[in-house]
Amino acid sequence: MEAAIAPAVAAFHVTKKFPGVIANEDVTFDVRVGEVHALLGENGAGKTTLSNILTGLYRPDSGWIEVSGEKADFQSPRDAIAAGIGMVHQHFRLIPTFSVAENIALGSAHDPIGGRFNLSEIEERILALSESFDLAVDPRAKVWQLSVGEQQRVEIIKVLYRDARVLIMDEPTAVLTPVESEVLASTLQAMARSGRSVVFISHKLGEVASIADRVTVLRDGRAVDTVTENSVTALASLMVGRDVETVKRSTEATTHRVAPDAPRVLEIDNLNALGDRGLTALDGVSLSVRAGEIVGVAGVAGNGQRELVEILAGLRRSSSGTVLVDGESLENGSTRHPIRLGVSYVPQDRMGTGLAPDLTIAENMALKKYRRPPVSRPPFIRQTVIDAEGRELMEKFDVRAPSETTPTRRLSGGNVQKVLLSREMSGDPKALVIASPTQGLDVGAVATVHQLLLDASASGVGILLVSEDLDEVLALSHRIAVIYEGRILDVIDRDDADVHRIGLLMGGEMEESA
């Protein structure tokens, strides 16, 4: 390094562990003055943890941070702000009933506690900032009136207002429309030209390649490399970190073939839906699953997977399109109909959506059959039947707990998933929709869950497996569908699966000759 100017901010050998997870391991990287620096990586690669360390929210277990060449020990986010590091979070932290100016003045260094705001002075400064960086906002507008893109601009101005030299942005384009994203890109470059530094966290390859001056790629908590690369292909292989030849398919031997004439148990046709923020989440998704087939949906989180599985479970309404279950049309937005038609669903949020934590294991196992005999004998439910069937399922699925009357909140992650699977796999389902089946589980539980899924498919259940874990999708699926921004970009047969290409597709890059 011959650089005469010390980097704006740098991390040295930073390691941060959480119970059971190493979020960052020996990460070293630096952000130069006046550059847009991207942190690229899959979900769970450690990007957010690293940015939380840079902004003082976490302290590293080992390693250190330097700001302008001097060692910094942040005790809290306040220290980081004082050192000129500001963060724009993915989820905005604005007070909706306050005006833009009030939100920006709040908690800033100029905040006269107990005194009076000079709002017109604040508004003038905001206007000056918004002009010099092309960040159009009306300082007097109330935040609740603003669009998501405008709110983001307010967050950026808030950071600039506090004289930040380094601006960290966590997945800034996730909530933006394409046009807004382009405006943001030019704003970030303008800020870099003004001598500030921008750290830009993303998993979108194209975006990173076009905006960033340098890219640090994180994988499994480690900084793999820092490159000036702007070739999408090279970035993709760095991010995914595998070559075609090295793909492990440990369970391949046990994956059976699907009969080509097997009936389609799940047929999704041209499905469209809006997400929670009212933006398009699913854009004409068509996909089918045959009996006995595992179809994996690969993609980075937030590209429509959640909306897709929620529609199949009836928890969300689609705006158009159809879903056929074994030839029968699924009612839009009914949670009972999929249960009746034999669509099982194991949600990603197991405790919050799949289980009632205060109820017993046996009662949770009965959640989907309490309306039918033999559990139901209107108006009563038969606790003895619930308990007996619970005991049986616990044994069959090897759930480890003191008894069937143990509340599920006391179970470990692996056992929680087994309780869910035991419920969803009993009662002869036609299709099983499962989201992130092994997220947060230990190695032994992962193997058990994988084997259960393979057994279920061998017995003729069609499985839609949605997972951010590409290895898992590759190991289990007969076919792999890649989802990006609400569209299925391609469906690839497992025999033709090319990790390289899947990595590119996950990053939204379609036209690439292998």
Binding site: Y58, L315, T335, A356, D358, L367, S376, P379, I381, Q383
Partner: protein, 375 residues
């Protein structure tokens, strides 16, 4: 966050004795704090407590009086218990009680003196339930359909119900108001016909009012409903995990509406018992002073929302109320009963927090943040 040396950490395990220890401990704590209040005001706490126990349970006819005081608390306690169980915080027991009293007295007056007593009493129960149920339905529908905060809507409806009752007796020549005799001078309600006065079960040493018997039966029914039926199963799931309930094919919004109406109906029957058992006229001032609806929240909390336990807690608090009436005089502060009830609620809620969480010293900012993020 920094400088805040202690924090609450959820307990992963709740020991078996805890559900009993919390209310008992809270009650004792309230007595201790109450003793301090008494001592400061120049009373001897021991003699005051001894007199309360005597006048509530031991002396001649005291227990019969206690049951009369306990009856409205029993119903408003059930009202709160059943609603809180599904996470519907119905603070409107007060207004639902008043609406039950209006409807109950109205039907008794309408039927007149020429109907069989059984019929009159049954009609009062039904109309009381309908009056309170409709009043409870309003916050229920608002919550289920528009996600309004039921604490605020049900609380506001209490004031509206109180104003309606006042209007019927003081500000209009309504059907409920006595316009002849002394009523022409001092506004008051019509006395309901004696056939509609509720019977009492005389066991010699103790007299049990019909309303209390009815409340016990309903408490037993609610207990079975919650533990044994499909509806009760759904209540438990919706109360603890609403998202899961929806996922399992339940209809939480419908359940909330049904339970809101049920909860209101219970308080409404309480209002009817108050007319049938005790007052025999619609008395807006008296209802307002009693504050049965709010006391019912204390009852439900102390009973840990268990309907059967509500019966016993209602007797306990009814006893304190009854003793308060009996002891009121120059040497006994009349606000004491309210102070004690308030202390009991305060200690119960505090005890609940201590039971669910353990207090630990927080070490670092980052730990707190981690805990918050994973919460």
């Amino acid at each position: 966050m920094r400088g805040f040396g202690f924090r609450l950490e959820p307990r992963s395990d709740l020991p078996k004795w805890l559900p009993w220890a919390v209310p008992v401990g809270s009650f004792l704590a309230a007595l201790v704090v109450g003793a301090i209040v008494l001592g400061v005001t120049g009373q001897n706490p021991f003699s005051v407590y001894a007199r309360i126990v005597d006048r509530a349970f031991l002396s001649e006819g005291a227990f019969s009086g206690t049951l009369v005081s306990a009856t409205p608390l029993l119903f408003t306690g059930l009202c709160a218990a059943v609603a809180f169980r599904i996470g519907f915080f119905n603070i409107g027991g007060e207004g639902q009680f008043v609406m039950g009293a209006i409807f109950g007295s109205g039907i008794a007056l309408k039927l007149g003196a020429d109907v069989p007593g059984v019929f009159a009493v049954a009609a009062m129960v039904v109309f009381g339930a309908v009056g309170g149920g409709l009043w409870g339905l309003i916050p229920g529908i608002l919550k289920a359909r528009f996600r309004t905060n039921e604490i605020i809507t049900s609380l506001m409806l209490n004031y509206i119900a109180a104003v309606i009752a006042t209007y019927l007796i003081f500000d209009s020549n309504s059907f409920w108001r006595e316009l002849s005799g002394s009523g022409a001078v001092f506004p008051k309600g019509k006395v309901i016909p004696t056939v509609a006065w509720w019977p009492k079960l005389d066991l010699g040493s103790v007299i049990i009012p019909f309303g209390f018997l009815l409340g016990m039966v309903i408490a037993g029914w609610l207990s079975v409903l919650q533990r044994k039926t499909r509806f009760g199963f759904e209540m438990r799931v919706v109360g603890g995990a609403p998202t899961t309930a929806r996922y399992a094919g339940m209809k939480p919004t419908r359940l909330i509406i049904v339970v809101a109406a049920l909860s209101g109906a219970l308080a409404g029957i309480g209002g009817a018992t108050d007319i049938g058992n005790v007052r025999h006229i619609l008395d807006p001032k008296g209802l307002q002073q009693s504050g049965f609806g709010y006391a019912g929240i204390v009852v439900a909390a102390l009973a840990r929302l268990n309907p059967v336990a509500v019966v016993f807690v209602a007797i306990l608090l009814g006893g304190i109320t009854n003793a308060g009436y009996a002891l009121r005089g120059p040497d006994f502060p009349s606000g004491l009963v309210g102070v004690l009830q308030g202390l009991i609620l305060f200690c119960t809620l505090g005890g609940e927090v201590l039971a669910r969480y353990r207090i630990t010293r927080s070490t670092r900012v980052s730990d707190v943040e981690t805990a918050l993020e994973s919460a």
